[in-house]
């Protein structure tokens, strides 16, 4: 599903070179659920941006769903994001003036599929909302929804186009512990239905929902272990 080889990312700020990634190798198989962890400055955001096709690596290859996307143009990457990647953000990023249903339909505006009828768009959006158990809130606007409901709308939007990977960046960062459980159960359920999930987090409780934990430090993979071993290691440390 995802194959990253010797990926490097170097930013130039004036004369200074910042080596955000210094040769990362990574493989994510179909239907895995992985937590990516690391302190700020570890290169985790850079890696996630590249995997999410929001950024390009300086060196190395990145194969997504069988295609090398490491050197694609900006417009082609936009299409890849539209069809293969679903994003969930810490602060939901819903459009305030649109209903839950309209928010979920958003990716279809930029879809390559021509001639989608409005009935078909609504059907798909309702199906996605149904999967996050929010079918009773379709015509509510974000300010009429709780934090957990907002994040569920955002997840529905992310899974609308049946993406190859669902990427969540601190999806529970703005939520209390009860809602965190609610949202993580949704991710677990989607994973059970066959969805590949990548979650960036700094909370061990969130990582505990995943099968595998990848830890980064200083632009390199520090550890890549099944969740049980990783959590055991954390307890010892």
């Amino acid at each position: 599903m995802i194959r990253v080889r010797q990926m490097k990312k170097i930013y130039r700020v004036g004369e200074e070179e910042i080596r955000a990634l210094r040769g990362v190798d990574l493989h994510v198989g179909k239907n895995e659920m992985i937590a990516v962890m690391g302190a700020s400055g570890s290169g985790k955001s850079t890696l996630m941006n590249i995997i999410g096709c929001l950024d390009k690596p300086t060196e190395g290859s990145y194969e997504l769903d069988g295609h090398d996307v490491s050197q694609m143009s900006e417009a082609s990457l936009a299409l890849v994001r539209n069809e293969k990647i679903g994003f969930v953000f810490q602060s939901f990023e819903l459009l305030a003036r649109q209903t839950a249903l309209e928010n979920v339909e958003l990716p279809l505006i930029y879809s390559r599929e021509a001639g989608l009828t409005s009935r078909e768009r609504t059907r798909r959006a309702l199906h996605a909302l149904n999967r996050v158990r929010l079918a009773d809130r379709v015509s509510h606007r974000p300010n009429q929804l709780s934090g957990g409901q907002k994040q569920r709308v955002a997840i529905a939007r992310a899974i609308l186009n049946k993406p190859a990977i669902l990427m969540a960046d601190e999806p529970t960062g703005n939520l209390d512990s009860v809602t965190t459980t609610e949202i993580m159960e949704i991710f677990r359920q989607l994973h059970a239905e066959g969805q590949t999930v990548l979650i960036v987090t700094h909370e061990n409780e969130v990582a505990a929902y995943c099968q595998r934990v990848i830890r980064l430090r200083d632009g390199l993979v520090l550890s890549d272990l099944p969740v049980a071993q990783d959590q055991a290691g954390q307890v010892i440390a």
Partner: protein, 414 residues
């Protein structure tokens, strides 16, 4: 990169909802466009109304009328063409009458101010007009009561006159004044007819002016020897009016002995010449109005650019999100261009409506002769085209800025 119809419908819907959500701001922003379009459409409406009534008036004048008057060549020293030399003399008019077969009627017209008096009142500085009997045909003015002038009046130098109704009022004459006597410059004149008062005309002077007509042969005796006269001629039909004009020019050059290559010392003009002049004037004013709209649209456009830049910066996170879910730079660019254009077109629409209301207002002004004022369809189309162009032109830079935002940076924007 082809964007789907769904994209366009959503982008326009979004643009409208943005305008509505920020309606005060949108109104202020579009004000430049609104004022520009409204002022231009109303100027165009007024001009088109004026044009219609002026052209109608010219047509009622008759396109086959020709005026001849003395004219000093512009580019020659004045002393080469003294007044006496260029002045039209009565014998020249008689020669024209004899030598121009395309003319139906011709009359000299001489005007001078004198005092006139009835039993009741004395009036100073009244314009007295000396005419031949042909004048009736050439000017086509109705005689309400009494009779027209005839050859006996002219040849016999009879002291008879025609009045209009205003003159009758001012002199306090009985309403049927025919048969009364009045004093013109101390001489006794018999009123033989009453002429209709001129309807209000743009070039006909004040309709309330008292008018007094006397035979030409009498009129020249009441003036100094260097009196001034002009000629009104009527061609047999509108078709031969050009022909008649050149007959007049040939005859005048011949009798004045003007050598080939030397300039005319007179001018002969048909009425259509004035129509052309008016049309030139009207299109000149239209061009100036277009210039004004250009400037106000420029000012309006700068407002649009400013507000679009504000909008792009306010909605940075939204742009980041749209990019993350798959919007290409072209799609973002198109969305913001459409938004600027919708804003401008909405302003243009309001401007056209205000202009239309102005035009209706103009038609209601009494005596302004703008009954036909209306915004022509081409002006409506032009207004919308201009508005869209302003949106496109001034929305371009903000849209480009939006399209170039880095999605990662944009999503991090506070």
């Amino acid at each position: 990169m082809i964007l789907s119809p769904y994209f366009y419908s959503q982008a326009i819907k979004l643009a409208l909802s943005q305008i509505w959500a920020n309606r005060k701001r949108s109104l202020l922003t579009a004000l430049g466009i609104i004022v520009g379009v409204a002022s231009t459409t109303s100027v165009i409406a007024a001009l088109s109304g004026l044009k219609t009534s002026v052209l109608t008036e010219f047509e009622s004048f008759g396109a086959n009328r020709i005026y001849v008057f003395p004219d000093r060549p512009d580019d020659k020293p004045r002393n080469l063409y003294p007044r006496e030399k260029i002045r039209i003399k009565p014998w020249e008019v008689r020669e024209l009458q004899a030598s121009c077969p395309s003319l139906r009627a011709i009359t000299p017209v001489t005007e001078f101010g004198v005092s006139i008096a009835s039993d009741e009142r004395e009036l100073d500085g009244i314009t007295v007009v000396g005419i031949w009997p042909d004048w009736h045909e050439a000017e086509n003015r109705r005689v309400i009561s009494g009779r027209k002038f005839n050859r006996i009046d002219e040849v016999g130098e009879r002291q008879v006159c025609l009045l209009n109704e205003s003159a009758i009022d001012e002199l306090r004459l009985p309403s049927d004044a025919v048969g009364s006597h009045i004093l013109v410059d101390g001489r006794r004149f018999l009123v033989v007819g009453v002429i209709e008062t001129l309807q209000a005309r743009m070039f006909g002077g004040d309709s309330n002016t008292a008018e007094l007509f006397i035979p030409f042969s009498v009129a020249i005796k009441l003036q100094s020897t260097e009196y001034f006269l002009r000629v009104i001629a009527l061609a047999k039909s509108a078709e031969v009016s050009e022909e008649a004009k050149s007959e007049i020019q040939r005859t005048m050059r011949r009798i004045r002995g003007i050598q080939p290559g030397d300039p005319d010392t007179f001018r002969a003009e048909a009425i259509d010449r004035y129509i052309d002049q008016f049309k030139t004037l009207a299109s000149g004013i239209t061009a100036i109005a277009a210039g004004i709209v250009g400037i106000s649209l420029l000012v309006g456009g700068i407002g649009i650019m400013n507000i679009m830049l504000v909008s792009v910066s306010e909605r940075t996170r939204e742009i980041g999100l749209r990019k993350a879910v798959g919007a290409t730079p072209a799609a973002i660019m198109m969305q913001f261009l459409l938004e600027a254009m919708v804003l401008c077109l909405a302003g243009g629409l309001v401007g056209v409506i205000i202009g239309k209301l102005f035009a209706i207002g103009l038609t209601l002004i009494p005596g302004a002769r703008l009954e036909n004022a209306d915004v022509p369809l081409w002006a409506v189309f032009l207004s919308f085209a201009f508005s869209a162009a302003v949106g496109l032109g001034f929305g371009f830079f903000p849209a480009l800025k939006a399209s170039r935002l880095d999605p990662i940076e944009a999503l991090r924007h506070e």
